[in-house]
């Protein structure tokens, strides 16, 4: 006669490690992988802070999304410790995990002990529909989408690079998009600045961008900064954001942005375009090089086409702006290999992408130092470039 369910469960529990919630709490603090195997509706009422969610019914198909290394220790829990014991057996016997344990007493005992509980916030039915293609991705899912909705991204310029970046970041559900631009829409912008429209020629770019974004996704709050970024305002604006998207058209402000972002430890996703060529990199302070490590001094005016208007093929800022938006999303979700310490060069005519390594400069005047030691007076220190540019024209 085959053994009863209770008997099988007892046998399983004999074979697997069971750990007390107090120990799991310590393990969580040390960054252990803890997986909640309950159903979606149970997870929704609250879970262990920092736990991942893989319902037992989807264990086999979804476990790889949270644990790829089978030798990594994994702690499972459910409501009472029974389903997690079954799930532990599956992980060990069917999927080859080496160190799996099950939390005694499950979430019920955890709560009875008065330990901290995290209650996930929930998306509306409309949001679940809107972001359904994100929710289907292991790399995003509900948790990732919530991170996007909580994120605050600052776009420097609603121009060539900022337009496509803003559109796709808005579509992705970035909760707050700040836009810095003091310009108005000009007919000559519309060949590439696709967030604006013919009927908005003469309208301020921040207002025009806001209208398009609101029409695309009402989840996004647009913060309009109708000004030119400068030493007098950068330290008021930047601290309100998690990531900056830099499409600046001049060197002095790029250096200013670099210095302020290093001091505030805010990553900058930077791109530049000219003609048929684009450059892209991510400057994440203290994890990789900064802009001054890459270019410690600006080029002279004759090698700095940013001094005046230059031709650009209209699709190029689209390509580069979307690569920026992609890096932003990767940074928010902590997925993939961000373009930190690498610079990507796109040659549209040759249809080639070349990447080179960028190193941190141990003697960098800015990022080799403690951020708190960088003073206001040092931000954006730069040769008299405007005079230099003026001399050229």
């Amino acid at each position: 006669m085959s053994p009863s369910g209770a008997e099988v469960l007892r046998q399983i529990k004999d074979r697997i490690d069971e750990v007390d919630p107090a120990l799991v709490r310590d393990q969580l603090r040390d960054g252990a992988l803890v997986i909640d195997v309950r159903q979606d509706d149970e997870w929704a009422t609250g879970h262990l802070p920092g736990a991942r969610h893989v319902p037992k019914s989807h264990l086999e198909s979804r476990i790889e999304g949270v644990a790829t290394d089978r030798s990594q220790p994994v702690v499972l829990y459910c409501a009472s410790g029974q389903r997690s014991a079954w799930a532990a057996r599956t992980l060990i016997e069917d999927l080859g995990f080496e160190h799996v344990s099950s939390m005694t007493g499950g979430f019920t005992l955890w709560k009875d002990r008065g330990y901290e509980v995290e209650v996930p916030r929930f998306m509306s039915a409309e949001q679940r529909d809107r972001y359904s293609r994100h929710l289907l991705l292991n790399e995003v899912g509900a948790e990732g989408q919530q991170k996007l909705l909580d994120a605050k991204v600052l776009l420097l310029g609603a121009g060539g690079l900022g337009s496509p970046a803003a559109l796709y970041l808005a579509a992705a559900g970035i909760g707050t998009l700040g836009i810095v631009d003091d310009d108005v829409v000009d007919l000559s912008n519309l060949q590439r600045q696709v967030i604006h429209s013919s009927e908005r020629v003469g309208v301020s770019k921040v207002d025009s961008a806001e209208q398009t974004i609101n029409a695309l996704n009402p989840d996004v709050k647009v913060e309009k900064h109708k000004l030119r970024l400068g030493a007098d305002n950068i330290m008021d604006i930047l601290p309100n954001y998690d990531i900056v998207v830099d499409g600046l058209d001049n060197f002095p402000t790029r250096y200013l942005l670099n210095d302020a972002s290093v001091r505030l430890r805010i990553p900058v996703v930077s791109a530049a375009i000219l003609g048929f060529d684009g450059q892209l990199s991510v400057f994440k302070p203290y994890e990789g090089p900064c802009y001054r490590c890459l270019f410690p001094v600006p080029p002279p005016a004759e090698l700095a086409p940013s001094c005046g208007a230059n031709g650009v093929i209209g699709v190029l800022p689209g390509t580069m702006g979307l690569l920026q938006a992609t890096e932003v999303i990767k940074l928010i979700l902590h997925i993939g290999n961000p373009l930190i310490g690498r610079l990507l060069m796109y040659d549209a005519l040759a249809a080639t992408i070349t990447a080179v390594k960028i190193r941190r400069d141990p003697n960098c005047p800015i990022c080799s130092r403690d951020p708190d030691d960088i003073t206001d007076d040092e931000l954006g220190v730069f040769p008299d470039y405007e005079a230099f540019c003026a001399g050229v024209h």
Binding site: L156, G157, A158, G159, G160, L161, G162, D181, D183, D246, G247, L248, D249, N250, F251, R254, A271, A272, I273, L274, G275, F276, D277, Q279, L294, F295, P296, V297, P298, P299, P300, L303, A304, P305, S306, A309, N310, V312, P317, M320, L343, M345, D347, L349, A350, T354, A355, V356, K357, I358, R359
Partner: protein, 92 residues
């Protein structure tokens, strides 16, 4: 002969080419050969001291020559030199 990738701002100085080839067994020889063939690039690449200008980065394949042996970095036939001056330009 190594291949040199020419950045947009220098193309006018090399007859509009995106890539050129030059002789030499190290970075310095190759860039000097290029400057000889295209004299306008001399002051764009080199300072009066004969060293690379600090605003120009040069890579052998994907590595910055400054972390290799600078102008003495050996370059093989199949290697590519990438010249990278700073670019701005985007929002307007």
């Amino acid at each position: 002969m190594a291949t040199i990738r020419i950045p947009p701002v220098l193309r006018a100085s090399v007859g509009g080419e995106r890539e050129i080839r030059a002789d030499g067994s190290n970075v310095g020889e190759i860039l000097r050969a290029m400057a000889e063939a295209h004299p306008e690039t001399q002051t764009q690449l080199f300072g009066s001291d004969g060293d690379l200008n600090r605003y120009v980065n040069v890579y052998v394949n994907d590595e910055d020559v400054r972390v290799l042996d600078g102008l003495d970095t050996p370059v093989g036939e199949a290697d590519t030199l990438v010249i990278l001056p700073a670019m701005a330009g985007g929002s307007r």
